[in-house]
């Protein structure tokens, strides 16, 4: 029996080999698609089992690779924390790789899929390497490997200008984030061993570093900023709604489902593991940013009419929710409330697992829609439920999970986060105390708005009547794609119904990070009941909810079946309106109109109605053109000024290169004189 670490390493090697082979046999496209994706799926399964076993055993394994700089070899380590993330990556990777077998066929004959296969596997390997690396240098390599390979994946369809733009914004923010992380490592390494030697760069050295509080805070803030840029935390989220829609859907599924999680991994690794005990205000900061991301993320999501963009913004929201839990956990850890810290952390981990699965599912579903209809905008979709008989219920399962509705998985983790909020004791600092109720309120608002968003996604896309032109051509996607989505949907349900098993499994992770656990108390009342702290405080029984629903719905159905009630089909009544056309349905834009009215302050909205009348006059209108542009303020207030300022500065700096040689000589002359005078 190979050890977990061996399994994970083996999968990484396999990924790199697949990538290489895909590059070498570029001319056998159709075989390559099947073979490469199938192998990736197998490798994912191996990685997932490695991660799973590692968490199950709560074991830690380490290794030093003989490459890298002679003074800085690559350190690798698989502990339960990394193991948990490895299993998420492996699990979703497996689903998505199976799905890819079908999805990539859509590109055959249109363009070469080789770059996609090459970078897809490097991307997977990069994510796993991020998780198992145990020194700053190796971590950065893995981190950027992941970023750059996904950058190439984002603009796989490179002839579209907006894809290139998306990829550019993505890589820029990712790189700046990476440099910030690097600076943070710089501080930690400096305090670990100084810069007279290269010994400070290992994580174990950094763990033992004795840092003054100020420097620890600076290091944490830098690392947090860097990771937040990757995670898409508002206001660093702008790349996310651009990049995820641009990427092929299997890649968006992975990026959204698991790549964002590696950033959370980084925050936990640095904030808890390497820094020792976090400061309480770090937790507060993480919490506040999490709240902002959650609320604004879902509000922005509601405004979108592009499915993938909506899903991307929803990822911002979910990352916010995860950060809320992480922030709470930090504050509890500071107060030495180990059980509560473990509760919040379990909530965070659970939500990461859930989000990976359901967001992966939803992006795969969006990919299936795109594959079948070549359309991403909901305004041109509708009524797909009749044509895509598999995709529709699977996508619905994803929507239910994402809306945090029982008995699906999204609910369990949000429930745990609410529990963490309600169990919060008095905290140091008055304002931080008030943050707790406000945070709970914001989380509640987020959950409710989330449901609203997913009603819109599912309702507009799958229900009603087809809004586009070539409706007749839509067919259900092929089996591998369905299989990928089916497995993800089943996971959504199972993770929702058996939370005790999941919590029992991942309890080793908070135990290793915050030194507490809730595994014992959670199943104290038996497998049927989830009681995170005590039965008196809160309980939830997902199996009962599920079986009750099955029972009642089944019983009612059987009763009516037995009575043999007749059903007659007739045209829709609609209060007696006649000549209903599909253009009279509610659209994605009109669905979100109330939200636009109520939360208008959060957006910059440009609305215009043009009346095109007969003979050019508006008195006898023939056509109304409604144009709506909704953007987030953050782009206008945060990024545009930076870009404008950079170019302004660049213009000023350009004046230095004036063209006249006398001026250049004058520079030398002045430089000389200044140095002579002052040095």
């Amino acid at each position: 029996m190979p050890s977990p670490f061996e399994l994970v390493s083996a999968s990484i090697i396999v990924f790199l080999c697949i990538s290489l082979v895909s590059a070498l046999f570029a001319n056998r496209q159709s075989i390559l698609v099947k073979l490469s994706s199938a192998l990736s799926a197998a490798a994912c399964l191996v990685a997932a089992s490695g991660g799973f076993l590692s968490v199950l055993a709560g074991s830690t394994e380490a290794m030093v690779l003989p490459i890298g700089l002679p003074d800085m070899p690559f350190y690798m380590r698989l502990d339960p924390l990394a193991g948990f993330f490895v299993s998420i990556v492996g699990l979703l990777g497996f689903f998505v790789s199976v799905y890819s077998i079908g999805y990539l066929k859509g590109f055959l004959g249109r363009r070469s899929v080789t770059p996609l296969l090459v970078f897809y596997n490097i991307f997977m390997a990069g994510m796993l390497l991020v998780l198992v690396s145990d020194d700053a240098y190796f971590f950065m390599i893995a981190w950027e490997l992941m970023a750059v390979s996904s950058f190439f994946l984002v603009f796989f369809e490179d002839e579209k200008v907006q894809n290139r733009r998306a990829a550019f914004i993505y890589i820029l923010i990712a790189h700046i984030g990476a440099v910030l992380i690097l600076l943070s490592f710089g501080i930690m390494a400096g305090f670990a061993a100084g810069f007279e030697s290269f010994n400070g760069y290992t994580f174990s050295a950094m763990r033992s570093a004795n840092m003054p509080a100020v420097w620890a805070s600076i290091a944490f803030l830098l690392a947090f900023a860097g990771f937040a840029a990757k995670a898409g935390v508002i206001p660093l989220h702008v790349w996310l709604p651009e990049a995820h829609p641009a990427a092929p859907s299997n890649v968006s599924a992975l990026m959204s489902g698991v790549m964002l999680k590696t950033a959370i991994y980084g925050i936990i690794r640095v904030g808890f593991d390497m820094m020792g005990t976090p400061q309480w205000w770090w937790g507060g900061l993480v919490l506040v940013l999490g709240l902002f991301s959650a609320v604004l993320g879902i509000l922005y999501a509601l405004m979108q009419s592009d499915i993938k963009k909506l899903l991307a913004y929803s990822s911002v929201e979910n990352i916010g929710i995860i950060l809320i839990a992480v922030g709470l956990s930090m504050m509890f850890a500071y107060l030495k409330l180990n059980t509560l810290a473990a509760l919040a952390m379990v909530a965070a981990f659970y939500h990461m697992l859930n989000h990976a699965v359901f967001k992966g599912l939803l992006f795969m579903g969006a990919g299936a829609i795109l594959h079948a209809t070549h359309e991403r905008s909901m305004e041109a979709l509708g009524g797909l439920i009749g044509k895509m008989k598999w995709t529709a219920p699977l996508f619905l399962a994803g929507c239910l999970s994402a809306s945090a509705l029982p008995p699906f998985n999204g609910f369990v983790s949000e429930w745990l986060i609410f529990q963490s909020f309600l169990l919060t004791p008095a905290l140091p600092g008055r304002l931080i105390n008030l943050l707790i109720p406000l945070g709970a309120a914001a989380l509640a608002l987020t959950a409710a708005l989330g449901a609203r968003g997913f009603v819109k996604v599912f309702g507009i896309t799958f229900l009603g009547k087809w809004r586009g032109r070539q409706g007749a051509l839509v067919t259900e996607v092929d089996w591998p794609m369905r299989a990928g989505m089916l497995m993800a949907a089943l996971s959504c349900l199972l993770l929702g119904i058996f939370p005790n098993l999941v919590i029992g499994w991942l309890d080793a992770v908070p135990a290793s990070v915050v030194g507490g656990g809730i595994g014992e108390t959670a199943k104290a009342s038996g497998w049927l009941w989830l009681t995170p702290v005590a039965a008196e405080r809160a309980s939830y029984s997902a199996p009962l909810v599920f079986f009750w629903m099955v029972l009642v719905v089944g019983a009612l159905y059987l009763i009516f079946r037995a009575r043999g009630g007749t059903v007659r089909r007739a045209p829709a009544w609609d209060c007696g309106f006649e000549k209903m056309t599909s253009r009279m349905q509610y659209t994605a834009t009109s669905m979100s109109m109330p939200t636009r009215r109520i939360f208008g302050f959060a957006f910059s909205i440009k609305e215009a109605v043009t009346v095109i009348g007969r003979g050019g006059s508006a008195i006898f209108p023939e056509k109304f053109l409604y144009r709506l542009k909704v953007r987030d303020h953050i782009w206008n207030f945060g990024y545009k000024p930076v870009s404008v300022a950079s170019f302004w500065l660049a213009r000023k700096v350009g004046r230095l290169q004036h063209g006249r040689i006398q001026i250049y000589l004058l520079y030398s002359f002045i430089t000389l004189v200044v140095l002579l005078v002052f040095a």
Partner: protein, 482 residues
Amino acid sequence: MALLVVLVTSLLAAAVLAFVGDRKYAHEINIIGSGATFAASIFLAFEVYESGPMLAGGDFFFVDAFNVYLAVLTAFVSTTTAIFSRKYMKFERAHGRIGHKSMRFYHAMFQLFIFAMLLALLTNNVGVLWISMELATLSTVLLVSLYRTPAAIEAAWKYFILCGVGIALALFGTVLLYFAAEKVFGEGTQGLLWTNLSQASGQLEPTVLSLAFIFLMVGYGTKVGLVPLHNWLPDAHSEGPTPISAVLSGLLLNVALYALVRCKVIVDGATHSNKTGYIMMAFGLLSIIVASFSLLRQKDIKRMFAYSSIEHMGIATFAFGLGGPVATFGALLHMLVHSITKSAIFFTVGHASQMNSTQDMSSIRGLVKGNPLVGWGLMLGVVAIAGVPPFGVFTSEFLILTAAMKNAPYLAPIFLLGIAVAFAALFKRAMPMVFGDPGPSQRPLKASHFPVIVHLVLILVLGLYMPVFLNDWFHKAVELLK
């Protein structure tokens, strides 16, 4: 022995090529000449690695860990550039951009330039160092104006005058150095030998030396391309033939920085302060910032990468100024990796502009579709030069940045700003050039694949694995530069 071969081969090649002129096999002779130099330099490196620093030719030559790796690098890049220039220059010749006479001149001067740089690296005499730096300038001035276009002549003139003045100031610095040394070593060559000067630097007069350093800084700094002495650099790089841009960027700047650092060691030994370090850090930071912001608005592809060279020289200068084992190690590595990466980029850039018959970036489109190797070569080159792992440039920037965070944390934000802006500028420009649909005017081209691949593989390997001997050299050099 190997040392002599290293120097003589290139000089000999220059002479032979001047004689051969524009014959068919001139390109091959050029390659063989550089290749032989490279082979000899490897032998030299072995000798030094086996037996440590050595003096040769009386005291005239001195080879230690610091210069031997630069010598090997110089010979290596000159070889790959020679290989690249074969196809590149044939294309230029075939399309009538240069004439019969120019070809003879080009080859001879190329080898002479390599000789000058190797001499600058290997000599022990600070005066000879200056002479060979001047020779390196002079041999390339007319190469920059090889195309005889108004822009090329203007660029060459500026290069000539600015570097001439700069290097003259460096001579003044050298005179002052000698002025101080004379009192310790008396009349004669002894007072100019670096080995002597560095050993006895404690006895030298600090006031004279700090004055000397300022002149040396401004002088050699001009050649390094440090802001605000950099103005010749973008012009010269953009208007000359691409192989020359490659060696200017990849080698000449390095050698100038080498000269500066050698002098810094002596001055630091005398003054016992880190004043020189602060000056270098200031120049470095200023270069990083100005160059990266200048990158943003570039239209000409070679000009853009010239600014990128300024930025990277700024980084290395900053790191040398910062001092300390890690930063110095990073700086030495940075010189190596920047040179390899930047020359690879210029190779692909050369082909890219030949394919599109322009250097205007807005007209270069879809390289990947026209020639995948040129396209991906440029893209990966940009990825590497922007400091993205797993390429070697990242390794050095990693070391420098982390060290800066410890020793000068308040400067790190400026550094970061520069890196971010440069990154944005490079990617913004490179992506549309490499990807998308090629324009109608793009023509197929027989590109020189080998040098690009070798450089990129090398830079990738250096990011993931560093040979032990290189590591040893760097550590010895770090000891030396303490």
